[in-house]
Subunit: 589 residues, 2 copies
Amino acid sequence: MPQLRTALAQINPTVGAIEHNADLVVTMTRHAADRYAHLVVFPGAALTGHPLDDLSEQQTFVDAAERAAGSLAARLDAEGLGSIAVVVGHLSPDPNSADPNRADPNRADPDSTAANRAGAGRRSLAVLYGGRVVVQQMAHRAPADHFSIARLHGADVALALGEDVWPDSNCAVSVYRESAPGVLVVLDSQPYRRAHTDQPLERAQHRARQAGTSLVEVNLVGGQDAVVHDGASLVVGADGSLLGRAPQFSDGCLIVDLDLPVGTASVPERFAPADEEVGTHIVRRTLLSEPALPSYPGEPGSVSPALNPTAATYTALVTGLRDYARKNGFESVVLGLSGGLDSAVVAAVAIDALGADKVHGISMPSTYSSEHSRTDAAAMAEATGLNYREVPIAAMVGPFIESLGLTGLAEENVQARVRGIVLMGISNQEGHLVLATGNKSEVAVGYSTIYGDTVGGYAPLVDVPKTHVAEIARWRNAAAVEGGDRPPIPSSSIEKAPSAELRPGQQDADSLPDYALLDALLEARLERGLSGAELVAEGFPAPTVQEVLRMMRVAEWKRQQYAIGPQISEHGFVRDRRMPVTNGWRERM
Amino acid sequence: MPQLRTALAQINPTVGAIEHNADLVVTMTRHAADRYAHLVVFPGAALTGHPLDDLSEQQTFVDAAERAAGSLAARLDAEGLGSIAVVVGHLSPDPNSADPNRADPNRADPDSTAANRAGAGRRSLAVLYGGRVVVQQMAHRAPADHFSIARLHGADVALALGEDVWPDSNCAVSVYRESAPGVLVVLDSQPYRRAHTDQPLERAQHRARQAGTSLVEVNLVGGQDAVVHDGASLVVGADGSLLGRAPQFSDGCLIVDLDLPVGTASVPERFAPADEEVGTHIVRRTLLSEPALPSYPGEPGSVSPALNPTAATYTALVTGLRDYARKNGFESVVLGLSGGLDSAVVAAVAIDALGADKVHGISMPSTYSSEHSRTDAAAMAEATGLNYREVPIAAMVGPFIESLGLTGLAEENVQARVRGIVLMGISNQEGHLVLATGNKSEVAVGYSTIYGDTVGGYAPLVDVPKTHVAEIARWRNAAAVEGGDRPPIPSSSIEKAPSAELRPGQQDADSLPDYALLDALLEARLERGLSGAELVAEGFPAPTVQEVLRMMRVAEWKRQQYAIGPQISEHGFVRDRRMPVTNGWRERM
């Protein structure tokens, strides 16, 4: 029975940095070679990073990505790694990009942007072997696009990109079921989603049973703007048994020995691909090597546990921030440390991402700041060792109020905006990335001062509702205690009633529904898409529904100017949402 | 020979405001009835507004739009307008929205957002007649979707949405050529594009000749966030002759008498649609009325001239701002009036959009402001009558510099950010919309202070390069002189060297290439998509190309936080662009 030592190379590429990403592939392949792997599988988009957005339309980029697969094959061979089959996700020129819609500059229908985005490049995969690209396969769009099976050491390895495997109909799984390969290898680029804790495994088990083969799924890891990939690459047997799983949010190489059935289909001459029809699809077979290797003692794969949703969300925030900073050349961050919950959690995330010595927390008390705000901020600094300073803002706020005669909300907002200037000034002077500390609940209903507390290049909590922020804080403190460390977040920051402290005695509850109610309503609206009437039918008070929907509509212009941050929910609040600002729609309820 | 008095009802709906938009339809139909029209054609998306973006996925909105067509038909009939055939663009539930991709919450391929966006609603058109919806037709996506021909007073009227007519292949024109209707009526929702001055007419003439019929094309007018529709609805004879054209950027009703061939195809019983196959397509015929009306003396249609590109761009800016303000409930605007070109042009646009008494220009001199800056700003106020005040910022800047010890760029940025706070403070206190005055050249290369001069809810010049801003200013002044008015923009604001005045003697030319060079390079890059190597081959100096591409990459995070404003160029800088912020791609040149 053929054996294949398979390495799941869970890497963290940077969008656009093709040469850097190729270096990662070489390093990880060398690592796999040291452990005698025969097959090394990288994630989808490993060479280009993901998501590419408009970069996939730039012809020079597409060409560079395509060329990179060839030069990488040559380089691996030159470094003595040519006898290992290396599977990588990359980008190829799309033969169908001469789309008639693209040719007509006058076309302005609602789908034209999407049509353009389908653009010049199409996601693809390649098998690099013996110094050459021996298999090329594009993301499947039309019957003419082929699926590939490579015979390696006597076993049939079927190849697919993630998007070819997950749709319910017309997918690679049904095609490969007919072709009976030994293993189905999937190059994936799935982002983390809080709601999906158990789904990737269940889905893989379902697919393995459907295809009747074992399944190797390798996923990206790491942050890229609003997306965080969580890795958790896995191997599942044909019977659905979990044979190996890589850790979440951590790059590395998982080795699994596969025992595979002998490939019995007739194969063409070595490296000369031959096509066969399977239903309306084309399967292309390529012979890399035959027969099976002499039998060797296999090692069992390791199975990392899946993190619980709170731990996973926190780790996604840490990963997102760490990679945003690192990939954009920032060594340190600065944020306003108000003593409140949001800024404390963002500081904790930043400390875990970059180290306390790289985090600068600025307390900016105004005349309305409570004593406990200052002591809570200072306590966090003391507990964690982050860089802490106090910049009282009264002397900066005064001249605006006096010059302009501001009162009420206008006066409140000046305080927040002065803080924004202070943070940006320190950033400009010292080179730190500014973190915006607003949470999803605030962003959704616009409970923030634009150009004030919204200031920043990255917003860790933009997709985390307030109630989850509190949950995360409690979990992080508990994890510290469990590990014998001091809890980073002052418990009074978690337990006290939220307040913006922009006027005497102000509390969030004066302007907003209770956060438990607000967050439940936002979840029902944004994640489940309930209408106003459906929300009321679920038991939300009609006046609250009406007011929250109004606030969301009015806040849309602010949300569109908000910093990017990691998407956590299914229907994220950064990349995925495109609502009109000018919007006369009013739901009846 | 059948005659049809046809009204081209060029209206300005608001996205989402279905009832308001229905009111516009009734008002305009009544107006057309007063002029004895038999057929009233409204634009695509007349009932819903355009573009809808994610609103088209909200089931309650789609259902409301669908219902609105029926109630509008009943209302028109109740108001005695039921004997006029009214064609409106709206939105219908998409029978294919049960997309398997939508059912799988784990799917995260690059196209999933677009797939979701294809969502619950599909653009459609309806003919309202005799109190009923007698014809319904969806935007064409599959062979099963039908095209419609209505027999009205003995003539065959073929119907299409804009997106069904403009693609080069597989379009309604080829289907209708076979069916030989008397006239092809197109409901369009084309945005204004500077480069398209002559194209809409040429394209319509081409289509009319292709279809072998006369062509009535009705377009939306007005601003909606980043989109400005320019109207210019038109009627072209089967021979390509221009029979009528509505003015650009102005709502209204153009009446054209059409002499049409007698419809000879056999038609079914009244209001009972019958399908026939034309090639692989389906044409659905519906009889509304027969035979032809008694002959009457027709009136020639009026032909409004097309504006030149500079006049059209300026008018697009005025339209965009006027509608953004009006549709969002703002009566007045505030902006920083620096004495420079950009703010002067934005002020002129605002005055033309809202009236000088609704425009508040704030001069905010610093210690580095030149004397001519203050006198130029004051001169503009004097020439136009806008509300003008001076708020010196030295007293507000000082405390930041002193508290934080800021120097260099950090000190420069504080000045811009203090101005931002002043404008937002006045806005909060007095209720004006804040206008950001940055131009496209600045936004592209990030020559701006984020949260400073970028502050604002609407940015009229975001898609207008600096050299075009100067051209617009000269044109506006010349137009004033021609009309016997005082030129609004001080000529020294146009002619002096651009400067941010954030340090002594600073000029834009110290940090940026000459604007003529920069704008040519940006145009080649953004509109024509040239690579770095292609830019150098076109004669742009390699170091300049490299530096500008670097600046654009580094500015991307700021651009994404910038206010929306009207798209003028083909590949706009607001809606259309989706570049990664974290981006390791470096072009070789």
